[in-house]
């Protein structure tokens, strides 16, 4: 399985974080809208009432003045009106004995609604809102029965509507800002809350990559104590189980060594005396010998895997990778010419266990023979601090969806069991060996046709081993155990 590095979130879906933030923002918006609306309604009502009260007071003052004027004998209504100096925006209309008088030219009977006229003529004072070309206006009607007249005062309320408009705008702005602020607050709160989940995700992927010791650090947060305890408990039991299984496999394989040795030796003895055996016995001996060889190979592979799992210390030495490849080819009876080399090539020094690397390369070559119609060519190269071995075969290649699966234990190619030979462990051994060497192996396409298997090993450092091994102090070799991501996967390279 390729592990994705870094944070991995599905795009386009409503994540927990985003939903939390949205909920926060909506909640904030609703609350602020409610507050704003209530504030506005309350303020508006108050302001209007204030206005009405002051208009009424003013109207009564003016009305009583007009009444006094009208009750004085010999005075005409027009004269009385002319002595009134109403405040700006206020006009007065008086109705007496069927005649209409007003303080200004721009106001008259037509500005008064029927309802108002009707009410006042019945002797009821009235306050009414009306709209004029200049904006809203207040009409106060005061009956003057003593003077047999009706007094109307109209005052403009344009400033009031201006005030209300401004208030509306300000409050809307406040609502918007509040909503935005809550959204931001919501996002940071959501992020805070999600952080422990991120920690859990990081710990889980570390464990999946092989660091079975990873645990969440203890917390005093009472909300998180439960999940930390559960996660650590789960990791403990997983680790114990995995290690138990690994030990069991290792123990079983180990126990099989001695009986297998005896079997192999016995069969070898029999094979020396083949001619003494009757025909059928010879065939039986052949069967036994062949299966025993397979048995032994499987056991060797299992033992090797167990050793790699346990991170056992394997003696390493600095060798030229090309020499290693040449010796591997020669030792397995393959032509050395398979290794393509040109003139003037530099040495490729790597610090490896020769035995394990030879085994890995051998397995890849065997795999090429078995499934790939034979090895076509082998190349060794170095770049960017790493050494590479590329093995191309002459076969049909490996389908992209299979390229990871083939490195799993006992993964088989299609076909009847046992027909292709092999233990099913060869490639997984290669992967584990490379992982133990801080390298990698992967399968890709060879240019032209066929599969290409690429092996990467870090180049040996210049300083090499610091002490003389014959002094008895081996140079320190840390067994890199599970500190690398899985060995099956290409490194990020620009233009491979």
């Amino acid at each position: 399985m390729i592990h994705r590095q870094g944070n991995w979130r599905p795009r386009g879906k409503k994540s927990l974080r985003r939903r939390g933030m949205l909920a926060f923002a909506l909640g904030g918006l609703m609350v602020s809208v409610v507050i704003v609306v209530c504030t506005y309604v309350t303020a508006r009502g108050y302001l209007i009432r204030q206005r009405e009260n002051s208009a009424v007071r003013q109207a009564y003052v003016d009305a009583s003045y007009v009444r006094e004027g009208l009750l004085a004998s010999g005075v005409s209504v027009a004269d009385v009106l002319s002595t009134i100096s109403p405040p700006a925006g206020t006009q007065v209309v008086v109705h007496r004995r069927g005649n209409w008088f007003s303080s200004g030219l721009d106001v008259g009977r037509s500005d008064l609604s029927e309802g108002v006229l009707d009410a006042v003529s019945r002797g009821r004072p009235v306050v009414s809102w009306t709209s004029s070309p200049d904006g809203p206006a207040l009409i106060v009607g005061v009956p003057l029965p003593a003077a047999n007249a009706q007094f109307y005062e109209r005052s403009h309320a344009g400033d009031l509507s201006g005030t209300l408009d401004t208030l509306k705008r300000v409050l809307t702005g406040v609502a918007a800002v509040t909503a935005a602020a809550t959204a931001l607050l919501g996002r940071s709160v959501a992020r805070q809350v999600m952080r422990p989940l991120d920690d859990v995700a990081v710990a889980a992927s570390a464990i999946a990559a092989g660091c079975l010791d990873t645990r969440l650090s203890p917390t005093e947060d009472p909300d998180l104590v439960a999940i930390v305890a559960c996660f650590n408990g789960m990791a403990d039991s997983l680790q114990a189980r995995i290690e138990r299984e690994a030990r069991f496999t290792a123990d079983v394989s180990h126990e099989l060594r001695s009986p297998l040795t005896t079997l192999v030796a016995g069969v070898e003895l029999l094979e020396r005396r083949r001619q003494d055996l009757p025909e059928r016995s010879q065939q039986a001996l052949d069967l036994v010998a062949a299966e025993l060889v397979r048995f032994q190979q499987i056991l060797q592979d299992l033992l090797e895997l167990a050793r790699l799992d346990a991170g056992a210390n394997e003696p390493k030495a600095v060798v030229d990778l090309r020499d290693l490849v040449r010796h591997t080819l020669r030792g397995s009876g393959r032509p050395v010419e398979l290794l393509r080399s040109g003139p003037g090539e530099e040495a490729v020094p790597v610090d490896v266990s020769k035995r394990q690397l030879e085994r890995a390369l051998s397995n890849l070559l065997d795999n090429a023979d078995r499934h790939g119609g034979g090895t076509r060519e082998v190349r060794v190269s170095a770049r960017q601090g790493s050494a590479f071995v590329e093995i191309d075969d002459a076969g049909p290649g490996v389908a992209p969806e299979d390229r990871e699966r083939i490195f799993a234990r006992f993964a088989r190619a299609e076909g009847p069991r046992g027909s292709a030979g092999g233990t099913g462990l060869g490639l997984s051994l290669v992967a584990e060996t490379l992982r133990a060497h801080s390298g990698a192996v992967w399968c890709t396409e060879a240019p032209g046709a066929g599969a290409r298997f690429v092996v990467r090993v870090p180049l040996a450092q210049e300083d090499g081993s610091g002490t003389d091994p014959a002094d008895g102090t081996d140079p320190p070799r840390a067994a890199a155990r599970g500190q690398q991501p899985t060995a099956v996967g290409p490194i990020e390279e620009t233009g491979t």
């Binding site: 003895l269 032994q296 030879e358």
Partner: protein, 243 residues
């Protein structure tokens, strides 16, 4: 077909020390086939009693009941210089290196094939030289002067002497010294030494060479910590320091 010859028609006396009955029986039969004179024991204490009678090769399992393989080797080395091949189920670094330190010459791990064992035994039996003998080397070569006494190598006689005293080296240690002495001053890599003395070549375990160098130094150097005779050339191998 038989490989147990050494000098003339006398077969080599080989001691097998293995406590697993099946393996011991199989080894005995197979090695008899190869022409060796096989003496097989399951317990180290009994095996030790064979040594005074003369044993030319030994195949020893490390994991034994009672006295273990290491102790046997250590005791055996007081009595004989014969080559010892160690059989081990464990491939732990420490086990193998410890066995080599204590006096073993080579090792195989279980499960092994008889062919492999025979190849190892054969390699260790070779007393012949890998290069033709030069006339000047028929006599002794002085390797070092220690406190006024000469440390001399007599390849033909198979001896190393400090003054009048014989220095006891195992067969393999002696061959190693001879190999270095044949090209004095020239660096021999571990791979080359593995090939010439142990017949193992590129994929041999270099620790075998290192352990033997260590043992050799302990026996012939005046100060094993600052070796003068067998000198390390870092990154390349070993050479005989020219006196």
């Amino acid at each position: 077909m038989s490989n147990g010859w050494q000098h003339g028609s006398v077969s080599t006396r080989l001691l097998v020390l293995e406590d697993d009955d099946g393996i011991r029986t199989a080894l005995r039969l197979a090695l008899l086939d190869e022409g060796y004179e096989v003496v097989a024991h399951a317990r180290a204490e009994q095996a030790l009693t064979e040594l005074p009678g003369g044993v030319e090769l030994m195949l020893v399992d490390l994991m034994l009941g009672g006295m273990d393989g290491f102790t046997f080797i250590r005791e055996a080395r007081h009595l004989t210089d014969a080559p010892i091949v160690v059989v081990s189920a464990r491939t732990d670094t420490h086990d193998i290196v410890a066995a080599l330190e204590v006096g073993a010459d080579d090792y195989v791990t279980k499960p092994f094939q008889i062919k492999e064992i025979c190849a190892r035994l054969r390699a260790l039996q070779r007393r012949g030289r890998s290069h033709p003998v030069a006339a000047s080397e028929l006599g002794g070569t002085v390797l070092d002067e220690q406190d006024g006494v000469h440390l001399t190598l007599w390849p033909e006689a198979g001896l190393v002497r400090r003054g009048e005293e014989t220095v006891h080296l195992t067969v393999t240690e002696f061959r190693l010294l001879c190999e270095l002495a044949q090209s004095p001053g020239r660096v021999l890599s571990r791979t080359v030494l593995l090939e010439r003395i142990w017949d193992q070549g590129f994929f041999g375990d270099e620790r075998i060479v290192d352990a033997h160098i260590r043992r050799l130094r302990t026996k012939i150097e005046q100060d094993p910590g600052s070796p003068r005779i067998v000198v390390t050339v870092r990154g390349l191998g070993y050479r005989l320091g020219t006196v």
